[in-house]
Structures are given as C-alpha cells and as structure tokens.
C-alpha cells in the first residue's frame, strides 16, 4: 500500500513524486517509459517570462526543476532586465539530453520513491473515493492518494495534415481508456490541442544569414541553494530569422491541407501558441514573422524552429521550411505536428488540486488544462504536497494570488476554468510587483519550512536574509547624508542631481538615479548582494509596493468572507442572470473568488454580500 501514487513522469509528475517522497511518504511513480522521465517534447527551454518566476517558486517550495535546469542548460539569460524588477524572469536553454538524465539520476536516488514502468488505464474507486490504480495488465496497485499527471497521453492523437495517428509525443504509447473511465466516474472531459514545430539538422542550416542571440554575461541560477556550475563562455547562441512573402504564399496556397484549417482537428488550441498558418491568416497584413532556431542538445544535431509550429502535411512543410532564408537546403529531422488530448474540466478541481467528485484524487499539469513545463511543475509540487498532507489528515497548502504565480495559476483554473491550454502570463498576476523572481524564497520558504519540504539549513539562511534586510533598511534610515562640499562633489562627478537638503540614505535611495553602489561612496554597507537587492527594490518602488499590499489586504478581507457550500443562488434576488448561472456552476468558496468569475460584476458581488449578511449574519464583521 502506497501513500501516494503518481501517474506520469513529466514535469508535474516529477515534482509531485519527489516532494511526496521528500515528505517521507511511500511514493510510487508510474510512467509509460522510464527513459522519458523529465523529457521535453516541445521547446528546449525552462523558464521564460512569468514561467521563470514559477521555476523559482517551485525551488523555494523545495522542488527540483530549478536546480536540474541550473546544471543542464547551455544558455541562460534574464529577460526584461531593462524593465522594472517585477517583470524580470530567467530563461534557460536546457539540454534535452542532460536535463532528463540529471533528473532521472536524482529521482533514482530518492528515498521512499519507487519508479515503475506501465500504463494506467483505470482507478480503484469505492464510493467516489479513489483507492489506487489499475494498469494495462490489470494489476491493481493500492494507494491512499493518486495524482494524475498524464500530460498529452490521454487519448492522444498526433495530427500532421490529414494524417491522424493515435499516440503520445515521440511515437510513445497513449492511454486509451483512462479518460473514458474518468468520464464514467463523473468527470467532465474536454479536448485540447497543442503543437510543436520542426527540428532541423544542424549541418543543413546556413547560420551566417541569421542574427545571433547570446546568453547573458552575468551568472544566474534558478535555484536559491546552489552556486552556478556553468562557465559564461561555454554558453551557446540561438539564432533569429524571419518568414517572408514566399513562405506566406505557400501557406496560403495550401491552407486547406492543414489539420486545423482542413477541419481534421477537434481540440481547442492555445491562442498564445498559434500555428504559423494561424498567424498568416489572422495577421494578414504582417509582412514577416520572427522565428528562432534553438539548439536542442550538445549531444545530437537537432535544432528547434521556434515560431513555425504547424499541422500542414509533410510535403508542404518541406516547401515552407525551404522558403526561409538560411534554410534553403535544410534537412527536417522531425516534422511539426499538432497533438490533441483529453483533459478534465478544471472547474471540477478544488484549490488544493484534489478532485471535487473523486476524493483522494489529485491532478496536475496538462490534464488540468494547462500548457508548459513550468506550469506543470508548479501544480505538480502543490499536488504532491497536498496528497502528502491529506495522508496525514492535515489542511492543504493553498497559495494565494498574492503569494505566488502558482497561486494565480491554480486560482484561475479552478475559478474560471479554461477552454484552451492555459499558459501563465505576467498580465494574469494582479500583484506582479509583489510576485517577483527575486523574492520567491521570502514569499514561500516559510510555508515550505512549516510543511517540511526545506531543511533547517535552508531555513536558517532565509531567516538570516530577512534579518539582514531589516538591519540594512534601519541602518540606511537612521543615517543621514550631510551635504558637505566633498559630498556635493561626489554627486556632481557622478552626474547625479545634488539633493537640496541633507536626508537619510533610505530616502536618497528612493531616487531613480541612485543605487546602493553609489551610496557606498558615503557609508560602508557590508551586506550580501541578495540583501542589498531587496532593500533597493523596496525603497525604489515603495509607493507602488505599498499600494499593492493595500490591494492584497482588501482582497484578503474578501477571501475571509466565506460563502456557505449549500447556498441556493436561486434565492438571491437581484443577481444578473449570467452571474447567477456562473456562480451556481462554479460555487466559489469565498466572495473574493466569486468576484474573479468572468460575468460576475461588482454589482452582483454587492448583491451577494448583502444577501449573505442578511441570511447568514456572520458574513461581515
């Protein structure tokens, strides 16, 4: 009897099984192919805008993705470094051979974790309570909790033109029956679609006509616990190229042959990840589209043609690729394809990622309607933690929207549902100024310590960092800059405006053109860089940060306003019809959650609050 059974060895399943085992739970990871654990079937990168912050959050919670990416990449850079601190995010070009290899080695050494190769086709269920899984060989494996992280493998279909092949990515086997079974047990199944572009043989590419995209000249790590292990000069470049009129003409001429436009696909694809034919049709007046060539690995020669995802038949893909400048003689090693798969309706999931219909069943990743390795990992670690907590009869960890991007992600899913694969975007986070890449540890490690997913040494470092931030802030506030002629000269020599009066250093730091480096002209600041960074951001964005926390406070008050589970929305007079339907379907737990449902307007929220106050009395203080 296992405590936690995780089905699927992708990025969600990895984090789920790792963290459950780390919490001392007897854990089983079942996957169709052990060699594919940690595989990256699509783009060869970890992180990216918003996603890079999720990776740091997974790391802060004690997860694996950040550390493994750190030791497996061939390029890393900080995106948006010229913009404000709230929107910065790391992206690494991960090596598609090294990453899974390092991941598998790490997991094999994990105490409490058993890894098994098989396909799960059914669940053991008694009275809507999940008690284990049944494999394709009819083997019954009992578990107190089950986490499904099945990715695109539920009734997966690969689409290339009018060709429709059942199967997972890389020709892997799919699960044929599990989603049908889930449907029989009362889960609503939705059909989604995603796609991946061509891989091109390195030797057939003329890189000389493309522009190079380098990694940063600064060392970075996702992980908060390890020093960088790469050399700056070892980083490999990516390349930028463009489509042209000829490419567009080929696509227009062959449009009806594509799986999507020819009507061969039924799944809903993501808008943020459109196929190239989509881009040409929807943005007809655009003369060119940007594409990127990214190396997949140092150990084989495939390059990933980012931006060129398509479901055209192979012969058309040949023409399309060869129309690109620099790829006239390109050899395509893998054609682009679209993949359709079954997912469950995330409105049937609780914020803990446990299912509303089937108790002890958790889900994470693409099965919940998301897309992306990082989104999967973020849910995986939460599902793993909450399955472990459930085994111990403890309350689940539910991250708030003001705690983490992971909180935003899960809240969006369970509150709004999704009709397309959900990708995290900076714009989805209303508190992005608080949810920065640089403070993931400060935001989440207290939770992690309380649950037990980080060790005492990691915790001690967190406490010391917090202490130092306080100390440095106080030190800057308590010390005043006196405007001696010598001081004035330093300002002038550095091209900075001389302050009109003396002021304390914290106030000085608030000025846009002043940083702590400059202040060290006047006082010694013997603190680690990570501490200085926090103090500087706090000072610079003081006004905005305060405003954001005020908003958080408002939201938290609304989060406290519980909506009784048995509320009859039919009895709440004066609700707009649309709001009534949505509320009845989603049945939000709090007024705050209700207010985030699209179609539920502020007036409806007032109406609902008044009703609760009248009917239940205890709603408001």
């Amino acid at each position: 009897m296992y405590d936690v059974i995780v089905v699927g060895g992708g990025h969600a399943g990895i984090e789920a099984s790792h963290i459950a085992a780390k919490l001392g739970k007897k854990t089983l990871l079942i996957t169709g192919n052990i060699k594919n654990i940690g595989d990256m079937p699509c783009n060869p990168s970890i992180g990216g805008t918003a996603k890079g912050i999720i990776v740091r959050e997974v790391d802060a919670l004690g997860g694996l993705m950040g550390h493994i990416a750190d030791i497996s990449h061939i390029q890393i850079k900080m995106l948006n470094n010229s913009k404000g601190p709230a929107v910065r995010s790391l992206r690494a070009q991960a090596d598609k051979i090294t990453y899974p290899k390092n991941m598998q080695e790490y997991l094999m050494k994990m105490p409490n974790l058993t890894i098994k190769e098989s396909l799960v086709e059914d669940l053991i269920i008694e009275n809507n309570i999940v008690k284990g899984v049944i494999t394709e060989n009819n083997e019954r494996i009992e578990g107190k909790t089950v986490i499904l992280t099945t990715g695109t493998y539920l009734r997966g279909n690969i689409l290339v033109g009018s060709k429709n092949t059942p199967g997972g990515p890389h020709g892997e086997r799919r699960s044929n029956y599990l989603s049908t079974k889930l449907n029989e047990y009362g889960l609503k199944i939705i059909r989604l679609k995603t796609g991946t572009p061509q891989r091109i043989k390195k030797d057939s590419i003329d890189f000389s006509v493309m522009s190079k995209e380098h990694g940063d000249n600064t060392y970075w790590t996702f992980s908060n616990d390890f020093a960088p292990s790469y050399k700056l000069e070892d980083q490999k470049p990516c390349y930028l190229l463009y489509t042209n009129e000829k490419t567009h003409q080929i696509i227009r001429d062959n449009l009806e042959k594509s799986a999507m436009y020819g009507g061969y696909a039924t799944g809903v694809g993501p808008r943020y990840c459109p196929s190239i034919e989509d881009k040409i049709v929807r943005f007809a007046d655009k003369e060119r589209h940007q594409l990127f060539l990214e190396p997949e690995s140092l150990y084989y020669d495939d390059w990933y043609l980012q931006g060129f995802s398509t479901s055209m038949p192979e012969d058309v893909q040949e023409q399309m690729v060869h129309s690109l400048h620099g790829l006239e003689n390109a050899v395509i090693s893998k054609y682009a394809y679209a993949i359709e798969y079954d997912a469950i309706d995330p409105l049937q999931i609780k914020p803990s990622l446990e299912n509303k219909v089937l108790e002890n069943l958790f889900t994470a990743g693409q099965i919940n309607g998301t897309s992306g390795y990082e989104e999967a990992a973020g849910q995986g670690i939460i599902a793993g933690i909450n399955a472990a907590l459930k085994v111990d009869n403890k309350n689940p960890l539910i991250l708030k929207r003001s705690d983490a991007y992971i909180g935003v992600l899960i809240d969006d899913l369970v509150t709004k549902g999704t009709i397309e694969p959900y990708r995290m975007l900076t714009s989805r986070a209303e508190f992005r100024l608080i949810l920065r890449h640089d403070n993931a540890d400060l935001r989440l490690r207290h939770y992690a310590h309380e649950i037990g997913t980080i060790n005492e040494e990691q915790y001690a470092r967190l406490l010391s960092k917090e202490e130092n931030i306080k100390k440095l802030t106080a030190y800057l506030t308590e010390n005043t800059l006196h405007l001696t002629s010598e001081v004035k000269e330093i300002f002038i020599n550095n091209n900075k405006n001389v302050p009109l009066t003396g002021l304390n250093f914290y106030e000085l730091l608030k000025r846009p053109e002043i940083n702590l480096d400059f202040i060290e002209n006047f006082i010694t600041l013997d603190y680690p860089d990570e501490v200085k960074e926090q103090v500087e951001i706090n000072a610079k964005y003081d006004g905005y940060i305060k405003k954001a926390f005020k908003e958080v406070e408002k939201l938290e008050k609304l989060e406290e306003k519980q909506i009784p589970e048995d509320i009859d929305y039919g009895k709440v007079t004066n609700l707009a019809s649309e709001a009534r339907q949505k509320l009845d379907k989603i049945r939000p737990k709090t007024i705050a959650q209700a207010s985030r449902i699209s179609g539920v307007n502020p007036v409806d929220i007032s109406v609902l609050s008044i009703y609760l106050k009248k009917e239940y009395g205890k709603d408001e203080n």
Partner: protein
C-alpha cells in the same frame, strides 16, 4: 425563476390611451387568458385588436402589442395593452392581471430586469432612473442621451484605447524577444498619457456639467445684513413665478426658491448676514453662511452702493474672486460711496426696488456657468454621484501615471496606474473586466512558438 410583473406605464391622468405593461415568463399565458384572441400561437412583435374579458364580461376594447423575448426591453416576454376606456377601466384591467397571476411591479423594476438580464449596462440603467426623476427639460434630455448609450460609447472608446496600450505593454513584457512588435517606450508613453488625459478631461468636465444639469446650480446669496439679499431673492422668484420648493441644498441649507435658466434649475440659497460679531448665536449663523458660500456653485455677493466696503466684504471678494463670484451692487439710486477693487470683473449694478439689473443678473449667472454651451440637445455627461466619483478616481490614477513617468519609473510600472484608470472606467458601466485584457493581447498581437 422570476415572476411576471405588470404596471400602468402611462401617467395616471386623463388621456386617450393608457398602457399597461406586462413582462415575465408567464406574460403570454396570463394575457391570453383574459384576451379574446389567441396570443399563444401568434408571432412575436405583432399587434392584436380585441377585448379584455373577465368572467365573460367585456372590460375594455384594447390593442395588444405582443413582444416575445429576448428582443424586448427586459429581454423577457413582454406585452403592452393599450387601453381605451379611461383611467378607471385601466385600473380594472390591472386588477384582472393581478388576479390572474401577475405581481404589481415595483418602481423601476422593468429597468432593473433589463439590467439584470444583461440588456443595458449600469450607466444606462442609472440614466433611465434619472430620466424618470428629471426635474427640468435639460435634465430629461441629458438622461435620454445617456439611456441611448452615447456616453457608454464614449467611455467604451476611451477604455478600448487604453486597453490597446495595456495589451501592447503586456506583450512587450511577456514576449521580449519579439522585437518586431512595437515597443512602448517612455517617450511613447508620454504621448499616450497626454492623449488619454485629454479625453478623460472631457468626461471630467462633462461630469461637472452633468451634476449642474441634474441637480441644478446652487447660488448662495451673501452679504451683510439689510443689504437687500432677500429683496433680490423675492424679486427673482416673483418675476419667474417660481415654484417655491423644499428641495434641500447640498449643505442642508434651505433652498429658498428655484428658477429655470436655459432649462437648468437655479437654486437660490439665502444666508444669514455676514458681519463681524461677538454674539455667539449670530456667529454660528455667520459661519454657516460662509460654509454655504464655500459649497455653492456661485456666490452672489450683494453690496450697498451707498456704503464703503467692510473688511468682511473685502475678504469675501478676495476669497471667491473670478472663480465663482458675482457681485450685485444694490441701491444704485443712492449716493456712491462704494469703491470696488479693479480686479473684480463680474459686477452687476441695479436696484431691487425697481428691478433694475435683475435681468442682467440672470444673464450673468448663465454666462458664468456657460449654460448656453453646456445645455444642448446632444449633451451626454456623467451626472450620477457614483459615476462622477469613479471618473475622478480614473483621473487621479492618470495623474499618478504622469507623475511617476516624470520621476523616471519604467513603463511596466506606469502600466499599473494606467490599468487602475481603465478599471475605474469599466466600473462606471458595471462591466467586469476579468479576462478582457488577455483576449485583447491575443487578438491584436501575433506571437508564440
């Protein structure tokens, strides 16, 4: 499930026709049961001649307008019965409807249903209410224009403009590697903010006008005791045969009377005479007068031509000069002892005894407020307190954006203020804004792997 409601929609006076309106799920069944022609199988948006019958007795000869949802005011099935038999018959028809399963509609309930069913937005619903309670012609025209959605369109357009900028900034943030997309730089942001501020200012100044039109202009008449304040008031009201009302002013002052200028209600507020005093009771009165003047839209300071300026009067002149001050120099028939500072511009000379200068005074009030230009048939202004509050908040957020941009913050920070402004504008219409922006991003920009 909503019930079926009915109400007499025309005024309860004596007229050729009065209309009874019914709406709700049972509408067709109920009216069909008391009408002598088949309505159940009739097609929508048709007119039927026939009789209302109750217990075999013909009550009235009527025209029935059958309108099935959703293309009706409330989006629910709606029937209007045009009754011909005068008010008592109409009341009888109502009674029969009530006996047959209808409920008497609460005031405004038809509009409420239109809003709740998503046919009109909050701004339009509020305007319907304003229309019903409009006191003057101008207020009515304003409300009608707002019901028509003119203002909604104006606000939607502005929001659309802001949304495009927000989406552009988000795209720059989320897809930094796509350098083909326009980058919203600090300079560009300056331009955008100036443009939006200009458009928002139209709404903000419009809101001021809207309030004037809806609630009327408050004119505080101040001056020292016995300078002729009451005489001026009486003359103005007397000449206009004004209705003396008990409408409370904004500061709980008693509005002594109201006249209509260019269709706008002008509420006159008399105040206690202002002078230096040691009498405690009188001092309370004087302080209150000053407060009234502070809150008024126009301060009409009445002076005596025959006396020199007191210190108190000079203070008043200084305090309200040009902004909202009108000076009426009374008692021009007496010897001139008054010397006005040259800076005072809006001065009317007259005499309350023979009504000299009173017309000039009215003209001056109208000019001061620009009533000619703000009251016109195309006007559409925000006029509801909730709306005005929100548009002011939007303005405040935009100001923050401007200031922070000056202070050197990056565009992704300024966006926080801009988004706040956008949200406030959305709230005016009662829209929820969740998701809108993400939709915008993907409909306007072409990105992704």
């Amino acid at each position: 499930m909503e019930d079926t409601i009915c109400a007499i929609s025309t005024s309860m006076g004596i007229g050729a026709i009065s209309i009874v309106r019914v709406t709700g799920p049972e509408t067709v069944d109920i009216v069909d049961s008391i009408f002598d022609h088949d309505l159940k199988n009739a097609s929508s948006h048709t007119i039927h001649y026939g009789h209302i019958k109750y217990n075999e007795e013909v009550i009235d000869e009527v025209l029935v307008m059958l309108m099935k949802g959703p293309k009706t005011y409330t989006t629910e099935d709606t029937i209007e019965i045009n009754c011909h038999g005068g008010i008592n018959t109409t009341k009888k028809v109502m009674e029969i409807l009530l006996a047959s399963g209808c409920r008497l509609a609460e005031p405004g309930e038809f509009t409420k249903r239109a809003y709740l069913n998503g046919r009109i937005n909050l701004l339009e619903a509020e305007s319907v209410n304003d229309l019903i309670i409009a006191k003057t012609d101008a207020a009515r025209t304003l409300a009608i224009n707002n019901v028509d959605g003119k203002l909604s369109k104006q606000i939607s357009n502005l929001r659309e403009k802001i949304a495009k900028i927000l989406a552009n900034i988000e795209v720059n943030i989320d897809y930094p590697e796509y350098t083909d997309e326009l980058e919203v730089t600090e300079n560009l942001m300056h331009e955008y903010l100036d443009d939006i501020t200009k458009e928002l200012n139209v709404l903000v100044s419009g809101a001021k006008n809207g309030r004037l039109i809806k609630e009327g202009v408050n004119v505080a008449i101040i001056g020292k005791p016995n300078v002729g304040k009451s005489s001026i008031l009486n003359s103005l009201l007397d000449e206009e045969k004004a209705i003396v009302t008990d409408i409370p002013g904004t500061t709980r002052d008693i509005v002594e009377g109201t006249i209509t200028l260019n269709g706008v209600a002008i509420n006159f507020i008399d105040t206690a005479g202002i002078r230096e005093t040691t009498d405690i009771v009188e001092k309370i009165g004087v302080d209150k007068s000053k407060k009234t003047a502070d809150n008024a839209d126009i301060v009409l300071l009445v002076l005596n031509n025959n006396e020199e300026l007191t210190n108190e009067e000079l203070t008043m002149l200084d305090k309200y000069n040009n902004e909202k001050l009108l000076v009426f120099v009374n008692k021009m028939d007496l010897e001139k002892k008054l010397v006005l500072p040259e800076t005072i511009k809006d001065v009317i000379y007259g005499n309350t005894i023979d009504l000299d200068g009173l017309n000039t005074l009215k003209e001056a009030i109208s000019n001061k407020l620009n009533l000619d230009s703000i009251v016109n048939k195309d006007m559409s202004y925000l006029c509801n307190l909730r709306e005005i509050d929100l548009v002011n908040k939007a303005e405040e957020a935009l100001k923050n954006a401007q200031n922070n941009l000056e202070a050197g913050y990056s565009v992704d920070m300024i966006e926080i203020d801009l988004k706040a402004a956008w949200n406030y504008l959305g709230e005016i219409m009662g829209d929820s804004y969740e998701g809108e922006l993400v939709d915008k991003i993907f409909s306007n920009f072409c990105l992704g792997k």
